[in-house]
């Protein structure tokens, strides 16, 4: 069963005095299976937020269709089991976190007794127990993001859509959000999140879709998309002669001096292994040698190249 599905989704905005058409999303087909973590990846302005806004009923599609929980997004009931964290932490900041969650819980029709029991637990889960009765306007950005996440979870949804949930957070905040996303999957929920931070997506996603200039250029399971193929290697050495340094620099794709150490990046595994043998033979010291698999960044760059050639 698809938790989220789109077919031929298209959104054209009219901008400026002459109402010039700008295509924000073009023929987007998405398939998000229930119980998975789905990463929606792309640079800023690629169409991630517009797609999410169509899914959450905030933007009306120009063409195509979208379903959440197998219900068309034009029907507000499609959002009955949906939690949504918008990008940018814009909330009713005259409310305390408890009031904020109570308001959104009430909008979902959750009975008062259930809200009363659930809200303190949720605030504890996102690390806001100590600031439950403080007005949101007195929160830091990280705390607002946590309050927003609690809001997305207040209805105990089956599907959670998070728009750039790690944006602007410090490393601890990012890790906390990653842990919560993983825990949500363990609870059987579907998590659909957008990000331009590729490392985060690579660590936690089952499936990803890469969107560029409003079009999906890659979509699938991470293992299938990235494969096992080694696409390069990284060698860090020290105590090598100047001539060997010059030789390795010529053979490598990139060379960086890090104090007394030298880092060389090779295009393939075999080039790296040859360099490794040369360093050992010359009496140099090898600090590390890491074969590198294809990454999401490589996929994104491939996609950008495809877009350029199109």
């Amino acid at each position: 069963m698809s938790a989220i599905r789109t077919r031929g989704l298209r959104k054209t905005f009219r901008t400026g005095f002459w109402m010039r058409p700008v295509e924000a999303v073009v023929d987007v087909d998405l398939d998000v299976k229930a119980g998975e973590i789905f990463g929606f990846i792309g640079p800023n302005g690629a169409g991630k937020t517009t797609t999410i806004k169509v899914l959450t009923g905030l933007v009306l599609p120009t063409a195509g269709q979208a379903w959440v929980n197998e219900i068309q997004v034009s029907d507000p009931n499609s959002r009955a089991r949906l939690g949504f964290l918008p990008e940018g932490t814009f909330f009713h900041d005259y409310l305390s976190a408890t009031e904020f969650l109570d308001f959104h819980g009430a909008l979902l029709g959750i009975p008062k007794e259930v809200r009363r029991a659930r809200i303190p637990k949720l605030l504890e889960r996102v690390g806001l127990s100590g600031a439950a009765d403080r007005q949101i306007r007195r929160y830091s950005k990280g705390m607002r993001q946590r309050a927003g996440l609690a809001q997305a979870l207040v209805g105990d949804p089956d599907i959670v859509i998070l728009d750039e949930p790690m944006s602007g957070l410090d490393p601890i905040g990012r890790k906390d959000i990653r842990d919560i996303i993983l825990a949500l999957r363990d609870e059987g929920k579907t998590v659909f999140f957008s990000s331009h931070i590729l490392e985060d997506a690579e660590v936690i996603c089952d499936q990803v879709a890469i969107i560029l200039s409003g079009r999906i250029v890659k979509q699938g399971y991470l293992d299938e998309l990235l494969g096992q193929e080694v696409v390069g290697s990284e060698l860090v050495v020290e105590s090598i002669s100047e001539s060997l340094h010059a030789e390795l620099q010529r053979a490598s794709r990139r060379a960086v001096v890090q104090g007394s150490r030298f880092l060389f990046e090779f295009a393939g595994e075999s080039d790296g292994e040859k360099a490794l043998d040369r360093v050992r033979a010359s009496g140099g010291r090898v600090r590390s040698f890491v074969p590198r698999r294809k990454s999401l960044e490589d996929l994104l760059l491939e996609g950008l190249q495809q877009e350029k050639n199109r």
Partner: protein, 258 residues
């Protein structure tokens, strides 16, 4: 969960947001001072004390009520969009018409409390000065409230498709014209300019005729209020407000929140 419950939740939050706004308390304070000032003004004009208490009291309730209706009304929906707080609300199973009605009824509740507080100040002045409190005054205050409901609907209608600045200007303009329609119509009837008579006649029948809801002069003079006239005026205000809110909903329904 029913639409009614969601509208109630939205209205309650709108009310809570508005009562945490300091502007409101400033306006209320000014209104109370204005009503109290009638005591001083009455001392200047000998022999018409009671009329002055009533005139100033009723006018203050109407004027400050309209100020609140316009200032809060034009910002009510716009602020939710500009601060993007609308995102978390409309991404719930909430119909857009429920959202608009929730905001509207939230402001109407606030205005009801405002009018009640100002009326209590007014009553206080009348009791203190031993002036008579007639049923006509209750009617006049009720009609002021219906006028505020209509002005709020005008403000929300304009703010559903334009900026608060323009919405404010249009609403104030309609409020002023709405009180002059009968005069404009009378002027048109005596005019020789081609088409002016028809134009003013058309405006008289299409624009909100707020004079119909004005029972202040009769109540202040102690004249009896005709129930049939008051009933028709109330029906007029309700139907006009309903039409404007339907328009606001249609416009809001097609909006993209970018």
């Amino acid at each position: 969960m029913s639409s009614l419950s969601r509208i109630w939740v939205l209205a309650r939050n709108t009310y809570r947001e508005a009562v945490r706004d300091k502007l409101l308390y400033n306006l209320l304070l000014f209104a109370a001072l204005m009503i109290a000032s009638s005591i001083l003004l009455a001392q200047i004009q000998i022999g018409k004390d009671e009329r002055i208490y009533r005139d100033i009291g009723l006018s203050s309730i109407a004027f400050f009520g309209v100020l609140i209706a316009i200032f809060v009304g034009i910002n009510l929906v716009y602020r939710e969009i500009s601060t993007k707080t609308v995102y978390t609300m409309l991404s719930k199973p909430v119909h857009r018409w429920e959202f608009i009605l929730g905001k509207y009824f939230g402001l109407l509740s606030l205005l009801a409390v405002e009018v009640a507080i100002m009326s209590a100040c007014f009553l206080g002045v009348l009791v203190w000065k031993g002036s008579e409190f007639s049923i006509g005054l209750v009617w006049a205050i009720g009609m002021i409230y219906l006028e505020l409901a209509l002005v709020t609907a005008i403000a929300m209608f304009f703010s559903s498709f334009t900026s608060p600045y323009l919405a404010g200007m249009f609403t104030v303009a309609l409020w002023i014209v709405g009180h002059l329609l009968a005069d404009l119509r009378a002027f048109g009837k005596t005019s020789d300019i081609a088409g002016l008579r028809e134009l003013l006649e058309a405006l008289y029948w299409t624009l909100p005729n707020l004079d119909r809801l004005d029972f202040k002069a009769d109540a202040s003079a102690g004249n009896p209020i005709e129930l049939a006239r008051a009933g028709m005026a109330a029906l007029y205000a309700l139907l006009y407000s309903f039409t404007l809110m339907a328009g606001a909903i249609v416009l809001f329904q097609r909006r993209d929140f970018r």
